[in-house]
């Protein structure tokens, strides 16, 4: 078989460009399993090579920001913030897709607009509100905020999905006397599992990765989330790369697992026009 020259060039460029993207991940992994002094002389340096669990143990039991607690805290916030808004969004999206009601298109336009609102635009009134309600340093406040902030793009995404589902099944069920709500959860939701998977994947990762909302609403050191623990570990002058690399790996492994398991849905959701953030 003759191999074309252009194919070889394409492979060479592709692999070398890809290497640029892979090296930092490789580096942070190597740094996380090697002693600090070896990392300082370069993780790519293999003249003396020792494995250590210091990094992972040090990050897990860190004196001021233990990841053992921070990651649990993050889960406590992320799981309800992922599942609570799904049902709420699906109901609203179904109404937008299937019913005619006054000023529907205007309301929908508002939803489209709201999904591009930056976090900075809501945080001050939210901070004041939570202060008044006693919900600062309280996960309930953060969960409500994340759930609500995720609603606009979920509604948009699900409405687009619902509106291309075949309507005939629903009409038949209606004629047979099923209520709207029954149609919704017996017929529509089961048909929408792929779309729901996209939402779960994206919202979970998005809430887990969030830093800004947590920074504003959670200041109690015991309650800090995983993304907040990392800046605490940096310290003022010298960074212990072994510990901070291990912490980075542990904090990113959760969203990476979600991505690997739900890859198709994750990418589809992101590409399908999540103008979110």
């Amino acid at each position: 078989m003759k191999i074309r020259k252009s194919t070889i060039i394409a492979h060479a460029i592709a692999w070398s460009v890809s290497l640029i993207w892979i090296i930092p991940f490789l580096g942070v992994f190597m740094a996380s399993i090697r002693p600090f002094d070896e990392v300082l002389s370069g993780w790519w340096n293999f003249e003396s090579f020792h494995l250590t669990s210091q990094g992972y143990l040090g990050a897990w039991n860190h004196p001021t920001a233990p990841l053992s607690r921070a990651m649990l805290n993050s889960l406590i916030v992320t799981i309800p913030s992922t599942f609570l808004p799904i049902l709420v969004a699906a109901l609203a999206a179904y109404a937008f897709a299937r019913f005619k009601f006054p000023s529907r298109d205007l309301l929908f336009l508002l939803i489209v607009l709201l999904q591009t609102v930056p976090q900075q635009m809501v945080i001050i009134p939210i901070f004041n509100l939570m202060l008044r309600l006693g919900l600062l340093n309280n996960y309930l406040g953060l969960i409500l905020l994340h759930s609500s902030f995720g609603l606009p793009w979920m509604i948009l995404f699900l409405r687009n999905f619902f509106s291309v589902l075949p309507v005939e099944v629903e009409e038949a069920a209606r004629i047979d006397g099923a209520s709207y709500f029954k149609i919704f959860y017996k017929i529509v939701l089961p048909m929408s599992l792929p779309a729901l998977a996209s939402i779960i994947a994206l919202q979970f990762v998005w809430v887990w990765n969030d830093f800004f909302f947590a920074l504003a609403l959670i200041q109690n050191p015991r309650l800090k989330l995983a993304t907040q623990a990392i800046p605490v570990m940096i310290g003022r002058y010298e960074i212990n790369w072994t510990i901070i690399s291990a912490a980075s790996i542990m904090v990113m492994i959760i969203p990476v697992v979600v991505y690997v398991v739900l890859q198709r849905y994750y990418v589809r959701g992101l590409v399908a026009g999540a103008v979110k953030g």
Binding site: H11, I13, A14, V17, S18, W21, I22, P24, G42, W43, A92, Y94, A95, F99, F101, L107, L113, L114, T116, P118, Q120, M121, V122, I123, I124, P125, L145, S147, S148, F149, L151, P152, I155, N160, S163, L165, V167, E170, I175, Y180, F184, V205, F211, A216, T227, I230, I239, W241, I244, S245, S248, V251, M252, P255, V256, Y259, V267, L270, A272, V275
Partner: protein
């Protein structure tokens, strides 16, 4: 993209006698979402706009805005966001397209794509850590490379110096966000009918010409998505700045969202912070509206 194609309404038609059910039901379905969105998104947006007109509970009109534009730190931040867009956007589009086209024909391309896309999955806080790590004097791979090619004299912790902090971060976000443009362009490439290429081949068009005359125009919708999203992310960039440089040294890498954070939660000047947030949001809406408009046209 897939679900947006059909525009026609598919409202349920059930015949006459159900007008009552048809107006009450949507209301019931909508109420939970609208309560949450109103309390936690809509009301705060309106409230932020109004807060931006006050200082210490006194109405000051547009004074906060005027004050902002008089401050060096804010104009600096504005310029930095602008530079960020100017540098990040073309490079991210270029690398995304390059990788999408190349990795399509390369063995193991799917795995490489998944790894490159990881930037879109990891927390940006970790992204900030990664930047500091690769730019570090001793532990960083960038400086090792410089020493290797004989430029060891300029090796240093790039994020620590006023003249290189910002550009270091910008290169970092290109690294993080190019996975998105690569994936969107990959999806776009899949959507180009193969017949077009066959026809071009029959006509004897060169590969280069085929790329510019068929691939690029067919990828226009993908480009609009990539440009919009990238613009919005870069406008709002915050986490990486906070972690990697804290806007420093001396404001050398500060951005609008970071200035907003400092004003709101370090200086507790809610009026001025609200003014920054409002400017940021207006810019976001402006870009988004412009792009949606272009998308509707094409």
């Amino acid at each position: 993209m897939r679900h947006c194609k059909k525009k026609q309404d598919k409202t349920i038609a059930y015949g006459g006698a159900e007008t009552k059910g048809r107006t009450i039901t949507p209301l019931v379905f909508l109420i939970p979402a609208f309560l949450l969105v109103t309390i936690f998104v809509l009301y705060p947006v309106v409230s932020t706009v109004s807060l931006s007109l006050f200082q210490d509970s006194k109405f000051v009109g547009f004074n906060n805005y005027l004050e902002l534009f008089g401050r060096r730190s804010f104009s600096q931040a504005l310029i930095h966001n602008g530079l960020w867009i100017l540098i990040h956007l073309p490079l991210s589009v270029f690398f995304g397209l390059l990788l999408a086209v190349l990795l399509r024909q390369v063995k193991g391309g799917a795995i490489i794509k998944s790894i490159i896309f990881l930037g879109m999955v990891i927390p940006l806080v970790v992204g900030g850590i990664l930047f500091r790590f690769i730019y570090d004097t001793d532990a960083g791979v960038v400086n090792a490379l410089l020493r290797f090619i004989g430029l060891g004299s300029i090796a240093r912790s790039w994020t620590f110096y006023p003249d290189t902090a910002l550009i270091s971060l910008i290169i970092g976000t290109i690294w993080i966000w190019t996975g998105f443009s690569m994936i969107v362009y990959s999806a776009g490439l899949e959507g180009i009918p193969i017949e077009l290429y066959e026809a071009a081949k029959i006509d004897g068009a060169s590969r280069w010409k085929t790329f510019w005359r068929i691939t690029v125009p067919m990828l226009r919708p993908a480009t609009i998505v990539v440009v919009t999203m990238t613009l919005l992310w870069v406008l709002k960039v915050f986490d990486v700045v906070y972690v990697a440089t804290f806007g420093g040294p001396g404001g050398a890498s500060t951005v609008m969202a970071f200035e907003m954070y400092l004003d709101a939660f370090q200086a507790f000047n809610f009026g001025r912070a609200s003014a920054i947030a409002t400017i940021l949001t207006l810019m976001t809406f402006g870009f988004a509206a412009y792009m949606v408009n272009r998308m509707a046209k094409s």
